[in-house]
C-alpha cells in the first residue's frame, strides 16, 4: 500500500521511540516550531562546542509520527556538524521532499521520509523540526 511508503518501519520506530528526546539546560539554544493547522509543536535544544559545531542536540514536542521521526532522525544527522552545514542539510532535505529528482546527498536515514513526496499535505509535518532547528540559530547566523 502507498501508506507503507509514508510510514516506513524506521519512521514508525523513531516515532514510537524518538532518539535524543528531552531538553538541554541553558545556555543551550532553543528553537521552536509550531504548526497552526494541527497544533503540533516541537522545541529543539542545541549545545554548541567552542568551535561552533553542534555538540549536543535534543528535542521535545507533541506531534504526528512523520514529524517526530523526521525530528528524531534530524538530531542524529546534524550532530557534529557546523551550523552552516546543518542548515545546508535542511535545504537538501526540503528539496529532496519537494522536487522529483533532487539529490539525497548526506541525508542518510532521512531518505526514509521520501514517501512524503506522495503526500504533499504532510510536508509541514516533515519539516517542522527543521524549522525549529533553524530557529535555534536565529540571531546567530
Amino acid at each position: 500500500m502507498e501508506i507503507d511508503e509514508l510510514y516506513q518501519t524506521i519512521i514508525l520506530d523513531h516515532s514510537k521511540r524518538p532518539r535524543n528526546f528531552g531538553e538541554l539546560p541553558a545556555p543551550a539554544r532553543k528553537g521552536e516550531g509550531y504548526n497552526p493547522s494541527c497544533g503540533d509543536e516541537i522545541a529543539v535544544f542545541v549545545g554548541e562546542s567552542s568551535s561552533g559545531t553542534i555538540e549536543q542536540i535534543k528535542f521535545t514536542g507533541q506531534a504526528c509520527a512523520i514529524c517526530m521521526a523526521s525530528t528524531s532522525l534530524m538530531t542524529i544527522q546534524v550532530k557534529g556538524k557546523s551550523i552552516a552545514e546543518a542548515l545546508a542539510l535542511k535545504r537538501t532535505f526540503i528539496d529532496f521532499l519537494m522536487q522529483e529528482a533532487a539529490p539525497a546527498t548526506g541525508l542518510g536515514n532521512l531518505q526514509a521520509l521520501g514517501g512524503v513526496k506522495k503526500f504533499p499535505q504532510r510536508l509541514k509535518c516533515a519539516t517542522l523540526g527543521w524549522h525549529a532547528l533553524e530557529g535555534a540559530f536565529k540571531g546567530r547566523m
Binding site: 510510514y7 514508525l12 514510537k16 494541527c38 507533541q62 504526528c64 509520527a65 503526500f119 504532510r122
Partner: protein
Amino acid sequence: MATDLLACTHRGDFPVLDQKVNGSPLVYLDNAASTQHPACVIDEIARYYREDHANVHRGIHALSSRATKLYEDARACAARFLGADSNDSIIFTRGTTEGINLVASSWGTEHLGPGDIILITEMEHHANLIPWQMAARRTGATLQYLPVHGDEGIIDWSLLDRRFKGSPVRLLAFTHVSNSLGCINPVSQICAEARRNGVITLVDAAQSAGHAPVNVQELGCDFLVFSGHKCCGPTGIGVLYGNPELLADLAPYQFGGEMISSVTYESAQWKSGPHRFEAGTPHIAGAVGLATALDYLDKIGRPAIQTSDHHLGRLAYERLSTLPGMRILGPKTERAGIVSFQLGTIHAHDLVAYADQFGIAMRGGHHCNQPLMRKLGLHATARASFYFYNTESEIDRLVDVLHRASRYFGV
C-alpha cells in the same frame, strides 16, 4: 428505527459519493467541515448561469430582473427555513464567520463600551471567539467565558441567571451544536433566560441549521448565523438572521454599491432592510444554490435528518467505544452526529492519513477549538461527522480501519 432510512432513499442524490478513493468506496465522514451537494443544487447553479445570470437590483432588462427575483426568492426561502417573520431579517453573508464578524463589528461598536461584558462559552469555534476578542479590544468591553467541564463538555447553564444578575452582560454568543464535542446546547432555554435579563443573544447554528429544526421564533434568539456549505449548499454563501428591531438601527458593515439610497460627493444614505448589509455585488448563484439546498432539506424533513444524525452519532459512539485506548469527547447520549476522538497514542494526523488510504475521509486537528483542546489536554483529535447520507455499514468500516490502525501504529 429502520436503519439507514434516509441514506436508502437519498444517498443517490449525491453524485460525489459514488466514487472510489485509494481503491475503496468513498466513506465521507467530514460533514462538520463541509457537506456534499445533491444533484439538484449543482444543476440549479448551472441552470442559473446558463439561463438567468445578470447583476441584481441594477438593471431593467429581463435577465437582471430574473436574477433579482431569484436572489430575493432565496432570501424568502431562507426566512421560511428559519421561521423568520420577515424576509428583511435575512442578510446574505459569505458564511458563519462573516455573519459573526458583521454583528461583532456593527452591533458591537455601537452597543459595547468599557465595563460591558461579552459572554461566550469555552467551546466556541474560533469564528465565534476571535471576533469577540477583537470587539472587546476595540470597545473596552470584557470578554468572559462560561466554563466547559470534562471530556463530556458539560456547561452548567443553570449558573447563567446568576451570571446575568451579577454583572453587566450585554451579549451572549454561543454555539447550538459544538463542532468538536458534538453536544447540543439548550438554545431556547438559554435565550429565554437572556431575554428576561435584557441580554442580546447570538446563536452559531453552523452545525445545526442543516441538521435539525431551527426556528428563530421558537429559539427566541436575536441573531443566528449559519453557512450554506454545511447544509448541502455552496461555499461562499451564508445567512445572518437578525431580530428586525435590532437590525433597524444597526450601522452597515461594509460600504459601496447595492447598499445606498443616495450618494453625494460629501455623504451617503443607507438603504433600509438587509441590503444595507450587503455592499457590492452579492454571491447570486450561491444564494440560488442555497435556496435549492434548503428546499431539498425541508422536503426530506429536518426532524427526520435529526433522527438520522443522532442515530448515527450514538451508534458511532457505542462502536468506537469498544476499541482499546479509545477516548471520545462529548456526551454519551443526546449527541449530534459529530464524534471526536483520540485513539491510544496515535496522532490524529497519522490516523486520518491512514484512514484515507481506505477511502475514509475524516478530519484531524484542533477543529478551530484550540483553547478547548488545550484545556482538555489534547493537541488534536480525529473527528468523524455524519450526515443523513451516511450508513451504519460506513461506521463498521471506520471501526474496522481503526482496529487496523491500532495494530499498524502499534498502540
